[in-house]
Amino acid sequence: MKTKISHILKKEIREMFRDKKSLSMMLIVPIMIPLLVIGMSALFEMQMNKPVTDYNRIGFAYELGEVEKDFAKEFELDVTTGNLEEIEEKYKDGFLDLYVTKENQEYTLHGDDNDTTSYASSLVESYFGAYKEYLQEEYLKEYEVDSGEVIHIIHINKEITEEENYFSSYITNYSFLFILMAITVSATYPSTDTTAGEKERGTLETLLTFPIRSKDIIIGKFLSVSLSSIITGIISLILMVISLIIAGNMFEIYEEVDMMLPANSLIFSSIVIIAYSLLISGLCIAVASKSKTFKEAQSALTPLTFISFFPGMIAFMINVESSTLLSLVPFLNFSLLFTDITNGTVDYINIFLMLLSTIVIIGIVLGIIIKQYKSEKVLFSK
């Protein structure tokens, strides 16, 4: 029996490319990638190169001695002194970034929980660190003890191989996560349209009168949604690479870092993108095909959208490392492999296990939908 999958695929692709919404989902979502890469890089650079004058207005609710004033000058503190009331007033009015109170030998830093305070606090801590060391040295000198031997009793030398640029790894990993999100968003619309949408428009009944097996209908639809997702994923990857190269030349934080992904990383990334596209397309079709209307399908797909990128996001935040077991866990395995690709530590076994797990899940999901498509509960449920 000649298969009709290619005819269904042709029909679905034609519909998809004629539908402006499907097209925009497929092509516009990846445009967010350059915005993310350039935007986050600019933010990082801004944070790194924040001028000291943005956070150095420090209030002291006590009089500073000459030595303290010298240290304040050394650390570029813009000092304001006064009594507690005056200092608090100035802080409230926004003339100070932080203020310090003193009781006996105890100093307290006061400030709100915001970005500027954090920078100011760090600056004042450095200032106090230096001042403390000075006092310790003076104390030891008084007792004729060699301060160098006490304070610097041990020496720590660093012979650590220069680690990968933190910002480069961070931005690459986030871009990969965003590619997964883009693929998910791209799969959602066509899968809803081709199942619940077709049901709602009444064309599914017509389709079922043709001499085509449910299996061919489902596989044709699945392949068309997968194709849309793969296109989104590959466009996103290309835009990501271009954006990283541009960001590398544009921002100082990537100085001396080669932002171009090596060829094997691009191949591995493409494999992960294709596998993820197939998985999410199958799952989206499975969920959407159970819905009666387009709206219902979109609501049903919302949890799947979150489930799809939450494990990856959490794994990235808490630094979960890939393993053979985790390579079998859907969703998590894709983001862990992306992290490995970023770090250049890809294990072929993990790639193989991810593919195996994906193929098994897709097989089960498609099997269930094909079975469902023979049921009037799915076709004519009211």
Binding site: K2, F210, P211
Partner: protein, 252 residues
């Protein structure tokens, strides 16, 4: 020949206490349709006509009973049967983003019409139904009557032996309805078997050779329009139907 034997379809519905309740939309329907006949399936809304025709068209699976087209059944010969039949209902929807030609070409794909014969076949149907002026227009821009013609054309591309028409004229204006009725008469002349469900009794009386009257999922009368009128001592099928059900109509 089409043979329907003891066809039953069970559905679940909710009662007023929100409890699931089984009911039979069709409960043991049997009849035959000879080659070249127009067989009318008559009954009020909710009688079970659409469910019956959907089972015959292979869209719904019967709970019990068999559908036999020239010795073929759906369990073993689903694809072969679907190549022999064409299904058209009053609310059949078609792919609006395609042009008429593209839709017919797609149907040719599905029915395995050879590429070499495709263009000639589509042009022939277009000429027969008077679709030349909108053959390359998108379906979404067509009028209701033109869309109905496209729907009929869709059914004709593979030259089926059986037509299953479910309330095909329902909701259409007089001109669009006439397009369907003319099409039925023309196809009968070619020796096609047509299963035609309607609740317009007068319409059925004019075109059907044989009539199956159903109510509440069961056949209440079967025969030619004349024999039914004679047996019920009425002058039209509408009165005959009311005579058979004793004036009670259940539109559940």
């Amino acid at each position: 020949m089409l043979k329907i034997n003891n066809l039953k379809k069970k559905f679940i519905r909710m009662n007023e206490k929100k409890q699931k309740q089984e009911f039979y939309a069709d409960n043991g329907i049997s009849f035959k349709a000879n080659d070249g006949e127009i067989v009318g399936v008559l009954g009020p809304n909710g009688a079970g006509k659409t469910t019956l025709l959907r089972m015959i068209a292979g869209i719904l699976e019967p709970t019990e009973g068999t559908v036999d087209f020239d010795g073929l059944n759906y369990k073993e010969n689903e694809i072969e049967i679907k190549k022999k039949i064409a299904y058209l209902s009053g609310n059949t929807k078609i792919y609006n983003t395609l042009s008429t030609y593209e839709l017919l070409d797609m149907c040719c794909d599905f029915y395995d019409v050879p590429k070499s014969k495709r263009k000639a076949r589509i042009e022939e149907i277009s000429k027969t139904l008077g679709m030349d002026e909108f053959l390359y227009n998108k379906i979404e821009r067509l009028s209701t009557g033109q869309t109905q013609k496209v729907n009929i054309a869709r059914c004709m591309v593979h030259d089926p032996k059986y037509y299953i028409l479910d309330e095909a004229t329902s909701g259409l204006d007089i001109i669009s309805s006439q397009i369907i009725l003319n099409f039925i008469k023309e196809e009968k002349k070619k020796g096609k078997t047509i299963l035609y469900s309607t609740h317009y009794m007068e319409e059925a009386e004019n075109i059907c050779d044989h009539v199956i009257m159903i109510n509440k999922g069961v056949v209440i009368k079967e025969g030619t329009p004349d024999s039914i009128k004679k047996e019920t001592k009425t002058t039209n099928l509408r009165d005959a139907f009311f005579a058979l059900i004793g004036g009670e109509v259940d539109e559940d």
